[in-house]
Subunit: 446 residues, 2 copies
Amino acid sequence: MKKIQLEESEMPTQWYNCIPDIPNGVKPPLDPETKEPMGPEKLAAVFPMGLLEQEMSDQSWIDIPKEVQEVLHIWRPSPLIRADNLEKALGTKAKIYFKHEGVSPSGSHKTNSAVAQAYYNKREGVKRLATETGAGQWGSALSFACHKFDLECKVYMVRVSYDQKPYRKSMMNTYGAEIIASPSNETEFGRQILKSHPDTAGSLGIAISEALEDAGSREDTKYALGSVLNHVIHHQTIIGLEAKAQFEKIGEYPDVIVGCCGGGSNAAGIMVPFLRDKLEGKKIEFVGIEPASCPTLTKGKYAYDFGDVAQLTPLLYMYTLGHDFIPPGIHAGGLRYHGMSPILSALVRENLVTPSSVHQLECFEAGRLFAQTEGIIPAPETCHAIRGAIIEATRDLNDPKTILFNFSGHGMLDLSSYDKFYSGELQNYEFPEEDIAEATKNLPVI
Amino acid sequence: MKKIQLEESEMPTQWYNCIPDIPNGVKPPLDPETKEPMGPEKLAAVFPMGLLEQEMSDQSWIDIPKEVQEVLHIWRPSPLIRADNLEKALGTKAKIYFKHEGVSPSGSHKTNSAVAQAYYNKREGVKRLATETGAGQWGSALSFACHKFDLECKVYMVRVSYDQKPYRKSMMNTYGAEIIASPSNETEFGRQILKSHPDTAGSLGIAISEALEDAGSREDTKYALGSVLNHVIHHQTIIGLEAKAQFEKIGEYPDVIVGCCGGGSNAAGIMVPFLRDKLEGKKIEFVGIEPASCPTLTKGKYAYDFGDVAQLTPLLYMYTLGHDFIPPGIHAGGLRYHGMSPILSALVRENLVTPSSVHQLECFEAGRLFAQTEGIIPAPETCHAIRGAIIEATRDLNDPKTILFNFSGHGMLDLSSYDKFYSGELQNYEFPEEDIAEATKNLPVI
């Protein structure tokens, strides 16, 4: 069977919170001023209480509201698909399955959390959301979700992606959002950066600062983040929960799960629903793939750091390359982030997730092979997971594994990046090991 | 239930040939020289016998080869989806369902026939296919299919689409095809046109001539057409056959089926599997929607005409605006064709299909509303079917119908057209009734 489908009635009705299951837990966010754990009240200026409760929850299961389920049903459950044509092309006996999150309206897994976030904001009377976007996938997802729940939406889009991916703007326009390149002249922080770095490609860290400043300065506006935070990871567990049910249907179980890592939400979302099994002794590997140009998990420091450049966020305990690190303008814009989800960071620290880094060119090559064999053109971020899956599938041809990877999004709006790859314009970038001291010299002292 | 799915095992294993069921049949193609019916032997220079047998078949059912089924399983059966969010936005009690053909690798229904055509060519030892493409959907589909069956692929892409939709080229490149803007300097006919009309936007009729010239001039090459011909319609009946099974699953039946009409394959493909029921007295309407700028069915002549500008094809009995008519550069490139499938033409002539024309701007408006409510951004061609479905759903609010339309393809690679719509750059074009005499003055005399 090529595609393993679930009925709508089989879609999970609860999100899974893995934090109670992580052996040493996840350290709380700290208030940058007091260095004390930060309670929900201080965060309530930018997030609705419904999401903050999830962020700090110690319950393993969180009900998915009916209104959210209804919107998710537009495309969920998403199919689990056997990449048997890719297997043949690789000459491997390994079985490769992928969870196809590219079927969502905006084309990626991001929509899963966007719908939930828009819902809780609407429920608490918020009128407008401000956010940032890297490759544009989160911005598109939130634009769609805001339209569904009748909220205004303002998107600060990292300059390099704004220029590389013009169709993302058209998509956000279609959903009625307002989009501006970041750094912009519309925030104090954006103007500062433009003054000191007029030609900057921008970064997620800068765009987050701008969106936070926007949300902090308007009564009617709150902020939404597309990855990193606990509640976002919880929302994305629907991917792994569905995949688990789909594997049960065919009487199989994955030996390895692969996800690409930017802020960590798609990787954690597909992996953590299998975590309890692993902790109970089941043999299963989790592999997180990141770009060698922005190697947060493989070369970063595990420390408290800010989530943004302007130091507006709480301090998060995570792997980081330093909050003022600006990664090279690689085409997987969604992976250009200095930090990493505290949940995923904790799982890496406890050796429950194995991080690995790959280069841009081998990823596009993997993406092209996937498109030619399985038909679907992957997003550059997703190409990283495909590259990871190919490595696992060809590592030892005498020991074929069952591999599951998260096909986080399609690349229909990233084709200009493929053009650059085909014409030989792209290059690899490696973050030098010795640069980590310089990059993290401004880490806050706890 | 939002999405009605079928298992792979429920995918039809036969295509339906509706010709034996059409009351007065479909007139055969004529040899332009002798004006006599054209046998397969003369067409064998450009088509493989496997497809010619289907083209001329009098059997109602044609087995789908296992090798074709296997590739179709990559995305088929496609979902039938209830557009309940659109219904709500329209304030109608009508039920609107759509068959989502945008889930195919290249993003449209075209892949259904592309896979079949590539298979039969490969089976007969062909090494290379030449084809034309309007909006790029057929070209992408055939590029993908050729890669699956290890054939070379050369695509003549209508100039206006080539310029409007650069990402289509990237997609065809990804699948390993060679693409050139038509008219091109690579064929004798292309050079002629460029000489007389150096600034032409091109047309499907011109691009067909170039691809035919290419195929006719090389031993290793045959030609593939993405619509119009009988065998293409047969391949597309898989859409309607699946839809019928899906309606049976939920115990419903459509009152109206709507499709957009360029060459006729997606409309006929979803409609004709319901034709026998209609002929046996079941109350069901078929509505074919075409652009007012290229109103083949609503203002054309029903006559024998060439399928291309250079008069290389056999004479087809169909509705036509004249083989040398070059439609305005509207953004639904796939609907810019002077002729219409002989099967669909016969169904219109016999009042079994009702044709109707709509304008570009109302179609984009319908497409935006669909995207905002159902999430998925439609191709400009598909916007015509959506506009048609909206007209049916709001025609009489006291008599709510069950409407099925063919969502022929997504618009991820057409977003620049939406940008032009949003910025007010697009306009409507109406083909003046009185121009039909001039347009068809060169119709061959039979």
